[in-house]
């Protein structure tokens, strides 16, 4: 039996659960503003998914984050190629965790330019069960990087990084300093309370500011020179 509808009326989680519980085999196609996502199901399990830019579980996660578009499920024989092995409930659980991470991190997502700083004695608050993730992120917090830069430098999945940072902020291990707080002690030169006991020496902090037109041109000139005569090269 074919299924059609709108994701505005049927949530994608519900749709996937219906298809999984029914043990369906076929292809689910979701169209949203000209962008197509396809999920291949066999006996109720998602075995493949792709949307042009992503393949595998990431394409499913992108679909689950969507709340717009139309869907159509067609019963048909499906290719044997399998890129997804986890069950539908396991995938839905991961998606829910990611969503929770992002919701929790909303205050950080709304101000990615804000600086992250360590609170005094910050490492005392790190629990043993999350030492690895917290320590990895704390090592990137030097009082000069913004929220967005720490997330980018962490090499972690974005929602996981934002969620973990939000957790550290909630626990008082990290503080967030916005541009409006320029006059606070955290934004003064000469370091601050962000350097934890095991931190590498942090250079004197200066407030990062947006460069002027001349400085932007200076960066461009530097890059052109550098690419012609790279350091360590013959020039």
């Amino acid at each position: 039996m074919a299924l059609r509808g709108s994701l505005a009326e049927t949530e994608p989680e519900d749709l996937l659960q219906v298809l999984a519980l029914g043990g369906r085999t076929g292809i689910l196609t979701v169209l949203d503003r000209g962008h197509a996502t396809k999920l291949v199901l066999k006996d109720g399990q998602i075995i493949d998914a792709y949307d042009g830019a992503r393949r595998g579980e990431e394409a499913v996660f992108a679909l689950l984050a969507s709340r717009s578009g139309t869907f159509a499920f067609s019963v048909e024989d499906v290719p044997a190629e399998q890129t997804i092995t986890r069950t539908v409930p396991a995938i839905l659980l991961t998606a829910a965790q990611r969503m929770d991470d992002l919701v929790r991190a909303r205050p950080l997502l709304d101000r990615p330019s804000a600086l992250l700083c360590r609170a005094e004695g910050s490492l005392d608050g790190v629990r043993h069960d999350d030492d690895g993730l917290a320590a990895h992120l704390l090592a990137l917090v030097d009082g000069r990087r913004s929220v967005g830069e720490v997330v980018a430098a962490s090499d972690l999945e974005v929602s996981q990084a934002y969620g973990a940072l939000a957790d550290l902020v909630e626990r008082g291990i990290l503080t967030v300093v916005t541009a409006e707080e320029e006059g606070s002690p955290l934004s003064r030169e000469g370091g601050g309370p962000d350097a934890g006991p095991s931190a590498e020496p942090v250079p004197p902090r200066q407030s990062a500011r947006a460069p002027g037109a001349d400085e932007l041109r200076e960066v461009a000139e530097y890059l052109r020179r550098a690419v012609r005569c790279p350091a360590g090269g013959s020039g």
């Binding site: 503003r33 000209g34 962008h35 949307d51 042009g52 830019a53 992503r54 990431e58 996660f61 992108a62 984050a65 990611r98 992002l102 997502l109 990615p112 330019s113 913004s146 967005g148 830069e149 997330v151 980018a152 430098a153 962490s154 090499d155 972690l156 999945e157 974005v158 929602s159 200066q206 407030s207 990062a208 500011r209 947006a210 460069p211 002027g212 037109a213 001349d214 400085e215 932007l216 041109r217 200076e218 960066v219 461009a220 530097y222 890059l223 052109r224 550098a226 690419v227 012609r228 790279p230 350091a231 360590g232 090269g233």
Partner: protein
């Protein structure tokens, strides 16, 4: 201290892989960026790669290279809020152009930026699909070539500088 921050958005994994390899080759030559674990050295499979290099004391360049991952649009919008400019690098596959349409709507009015092609001769197809005016120049970049990628970054920097000066 001033830091010029730029965002490069790619619409496919292949483009990202090529761009990272090219830029990585450039960045690791910069002093201070060669220690293991330094940003820009090992971007791996992260959805967002980050590199930072010092032009001179007091002036840095930070570059975010964003790939299509989960909730890519939200991440792009969040990062766009803190950069001086963005560049959208497109392949010539229909999926690239389709994604670009949504991303441009998201970014276009908030941050200065430009669209670039990565396949020779793809500029007119991009102009047509994205309905860009004839006077908009669409650079075509060779993602495997360091000079080509650097020139794109420089073009973006100069465009932002012009807009700032107006």
């Amino acid at each position: 201290m001033a830091c010029a921050k730029l965002l490069l958005i790619v619409t496919s994994k292949d483009l990202r892989r090529r761009l990272l390899a090219t830029w990585h080759d450039f960045v690791i030559r910069q002093p201070g960026a060669s220690r293991p674990g330094a940003p820009g050295v090992d971007p791996g499979e992260a959805p967002v790669a980050f590199s930072r290099l010092t032009v001179r004391p007091g002036l840095d360049l930070a570059l975010f290279i964003v790939d299509g991952g989960w909730r890519r649009e939200y991440v792009c919008r969040a990062l766009a809020a803190e950069v001086e400019g963005y560049c959208l690098l497109l392949g010539d596959a229909p999926a690239d152009l389709s994604l670009a349409h949504g991303l441009l709507q998201l970014l276009g009015d908030t941050t200065p930026g430009l669209v670039a092609g990565t396949a020779p001769g793809s500029d007119e197809a991009i102009r047509s699909v994205l309905a860009l005016p004839p006077d908009v120049v669409i650079p075509v970049v060779d993602c495997d070539d360091r000079e080509s990628v650097t020139e794109l970054v420089c073009t973006l920097l100069e465009r932002v500088a012009v807009l700032q000066a107006v």
